[in-house]
């Protein structure tokens, strides 16, 4: 039989198909429709009600103005702005005090010292001795976030007399050795060793570089009028200008005599640094001070504030610690913040002082001056405040390391007169008119008499 579509098959198939369609069409439709239904719900009602309530209202603090005096023109706008945001009831008036050494004592005599005074090392001790600034111990003890361990020890300990603290330090510039790397390379002299740079190394390297006939020397000359420059030489030989209690002058001790005479002999030699007669030939002390940046010196021992000047000089340089003799030591030069005893707002003055000596504030000031801060926490912030942007290798770590071993300039009573006596003696020694061993024993008792007269 042929497979033809029969009528039966067709009708069956059609019936099945039609049945399927019919079933699909009869499926219930999904219809969305709104159904009203009564449901129990929780009703939230907002309603304004007047409630009588007794409250204690604190009066807003009266705005107090405190004066902050400092000698340098550091722009404090950012610091004072952020301070006022945090302490809106304290207004800080910043004053730059020129002729600091004469003006501050005059202000003290007139009773017009600023509430907070940023003062040099010896001056803050003198002001503390005579009651012109107050003891800060109660404020420090009452400020739990002021951690003394965060400060470098020598700087934290310095402004304390008979257990009374008179100042809080902020930033500091240590003395280091800057050296002209290009001149060292030209002369084939090895760079100063960062770990063991001694006086003998210094002399050796300086002599190797010196060429006085062509006005090139290995080292800067000693600034004879800057009497404090020589104190680090005495420290490096384990000597001191004064006893720790500043009651005696110790320059007549062998360590001090040896130290000063060593450097005087180097100065007078003429083949290490410009001698006094050679200084005349190059235009005097002022010109001698610029020899390093003029590329005429191998090394210059100076405060880290000359970093920018060296960058502007345009040659490749690097830094090393001060050379040492018996021990590593150097000057660390900075200032302290103190509160005047005549201040009528001592609490507010402390609030500002503490803020200005905080980690961030110190970091901001230190970055401006290219110094390290006196707080270890401020020196951990990057980029480091003492570093500058140069395209050659500089051993920047030398700078903050100085704070571990360096000392603050001494601060005896009647410092001006004492320095005059010491300075006159140094002038004679450095000009070759006298030997340290002859003159220091004469001068030391006179200095002792001056500094012990309180």
């Amino acid at each position: 039989m042929d497979a033809k579509l029969s009528r039966r098959v067709f009708l069956r198939t059609a019936a099945a198909f039609g049945g399927g369609v019919l079933v699909a069409a009869c499926q219930p439709k999904v219809v969305e429709k709104i159904v009203k239904e009564t449901v129990e719900v929780e009703k939230v009602v907002k309603e304004t009600v007047v409630v009588e309530k007794v409250v204690t209202v604190m009066p807003s603090p009266e705005v107090v103005t405190i004066r902050y005096g400092r000698h340098d023109p550091y722009p404090l706008e950012e610091t004072t702005k952020s301070f006022v945001e945090e302490f809106p009831y304290i207004n800080v008036q910043v004053e730059q005090i020129g002729e600091f050494h004469a003006k501050v004592p005059a202000m003290a005599a007139a009773g017009t010292l600023p509430d907070v005074l940023r003062s040099w090392e010896a001056m803050v001790l003198d002001l503390g001795r005579y009651g012109q600034v107050i003891e800060l111990n109660p404020f420090v003890d009452a400020t739990p976030d002021l951690n003394p361990e965060d400060f470098y020890e020598n700087w934290w300990k310095y402004p304390v007399l008979e257990g009374k603290r008179f100042g809080i330090p902020d930033a500091v510039a240590p003395h280091i050795t800057y050296y002209n790397a290009e001149l060292f390379d030209e002369k084939g002299v090895p760079y100063p060793d960062l770990d063991s740079f001694t006086w003998d190394d210094f002399e050796q390297e300086a002599r190797a570089i010196s060429d006085p006939d062509n006005r090139i020397w290995g080292s800067e000359t000693i600034p004879v009028g800057w009497h404090m420059f020589s104190v680090k030489q005495v420290w490096q030989n384990n000597g001191r200008y004064y006893s720790p209690d500043y009651q005696e002058c110790w320059i007549d001790r062998p360590e001090a005599i040896e130290a000063i005479q060593y450097w005087a002999d180097l100065l007078l030699d003429g083949n290490v640094m410009p001698s006094p007669s050679q200084i005349v030939g190059i235009g005097g002390a002022g010109a001698a001070a610029e020899l390093f940046t003029a590329g005429k010196l191998g090394m210059q021992r100076m405060g880290s504030w000359i970093t920018q000047v060296c960058i502007d000089a345009g040659f490749r340089w690097n830094i090393a610690p001060e050379p040492s003799k018996v021990k590593r030591d150097t000057i660390t030069h900075g200032a302290f913040n103190a509160i005047a005893s005549t201040s009528e707002h001592k609490d507010e003055a402390w609030t500002w002082l503490n803020y200005n000596c905080s980690t961030q504030s110190i970091y901001e000031y230190a970055t401006f001056g290219k110094f390290p801060g006196v707080r270890k926490s401020s020196n951990e912030i990057e980029p480091h405040s003492w570093e500058a942007d140069v395209d050659f290798q500089v051993d920047w770590q030398v700078i903050p390391q100085c704070l571990e071993y360096g000392h603050v300039l001494p601060g005896p009573a009647n410092e001006g007169e004492a320095l005059k006596l010491i300075g006159d003696a140094l002038e004679k020694i450095y000009s070759g008119d006298a030997k340290a061993a002859e003159i220091f024993p004469e001068v030391a008792p006179k200095v002792t008499e001056v500094i012990s007269e309180i």
């Binding site: 050494h101 004469a102 004592p105 005059a106 003290a108 005599a109 003198d126 002001l127 001795r129 005579y130 012109q132 009028g225 005349v280 030939g281 190059i282 235009g283 005097g284 010109a287 009647n414 001006g416 007169e417 005059k420 006159d424 002038e427 004679k428 000009s431 008119d433």
Partner: protein
């Protein structure tokens, strides 16, 4: 006239005089008040302070005459400064008088551009002490100064004028001679006030110019010379600006003048009482020297009025 009228008259006169006196004092009172506040008062205060030890930052402490005793016994710098000051004055004042008189004689001639030359020689006198000191510091500069550069042109290597302790005082003396304008003008005025009949009489007697100068000009000028010498000593003993600006008292205290030591004692060492005592000693020194000169002056100063 009755007694009553006399009494009324005298009372009226007294009242009138009193009113006149009060009016006069009222007119001069601003000066008196200013003098008391800014001169007399501080002078008295410094005298009192000279017997105190006062550091400015500590309260004053009475010590009597200790400052004066210390000055003349143990303060070597004070004694040195007296020596430096007197050396300076004893050389600079006579030199200045000779130079001023010589210039006045020259400017008393009938020469061309006389007015111009008088201005040129007087001009340094109107330059302030500090400005003049800065100017001379540059002139004395070892490398850049005009003096050494001019000397170099004739093959001479100039010294270090301000840093050689053997010659630095001489450098300051030379600088002081730049300021002879004021005594020069006074000498010029004196020369122009000379009675001409004396010169005519001398000419008739056959006196030459040199004799005329020694026998007529100088004696007639003696009061002017006397005045200029006294003023020269007074200002010389108070020299401050030149050593302060040019040398700072160095090198090795070779130019530590009394005025500079006084200033350093006050503002560098904060010894206000001691500085006050030094100021009074300076005043007494100047007063004594002036009185001595007045005493000696009676022997050689010729006053025409007395004759």
């Amino acid at each position: 006239m009755s007694a009553t009228t006399n009494l009324i008259g005298r009372t009226t006169t007294r009242r009138k005089r009193l009113r006149e006196a009060l009016t006069a004092y009222a007119f001069i009172s601003p000066w008196i008040i200013g003098f008391v506040l800014f001169m007399g008062g501080p002078i008295l205060a410094s005298f009192i302070l000279s017997s105190f030890r006062w550091k400015l930052i500590a309260p004053p402490r009475f010590i009597g005459f200790n400052h004066y005793i210390k000055m003349f016994t143990t303060d070597e710098l004070f004694q040195l400064s007296i020596g430096v000051t007197f050396k300076y004055v004893l050389v600079s004042v006579p030199l200045a008088q000779v130079l001023a008189l010589s210039l006045a004689l020259l400017l008393n001639q009938r020469i061309r551009l006389l007015g111009f030359w008088r201005i040129v020689f007087y001009l340094p006198a109107v330059v302030s002490g500090v400005a003049g000191s800065v100017l001379w510091s540059w002139m004395y500069h070892n490398q850049l100064g005009i003096i050494n550069n001019l000397l170099l042109l004739v093959g001479i290597q100039g010294p270090n004028w301000l840093f050689d302790k053997e010659i630095v005082l001489g450098s300051l003396i030379v600088k002081s001679l730049w300021n002879v304008g004021v005594p020069m003008i006074i000498y010029l005025a004196g020369l122009q006030g000379m009675p001409q009949e004396l010169y005519e009489a001398a000419e008739i007697d056959g006196a030459g110019e040199w004799v005329e100068f020694w026998k007529i000009s100088l004696p007639m000028l003696s009061p002017v010379i006397f005045f200029n010498v006294i003023m020269g000593f007074i200002s010389g003993l108070q020299t401050f600006a030149e050593p302060y600006v040019m040398t700072g008292g160095g090198p090795d205290n070779a130019t530590l003048f009394l005025g500079l030591h006084l200033y350093q004692s006050a503002f560098h060492y904060l010894k206000m009482g001691y500085a006050s005592a030094m100021a009074w000693v300076m005043f007494l020194l100047i007063l004594t020297l002036t009185l001595v000169q007045f005493k000696l002056g009676s022997r050689w100063v010729y006053y025409e009025a007395e004759a």
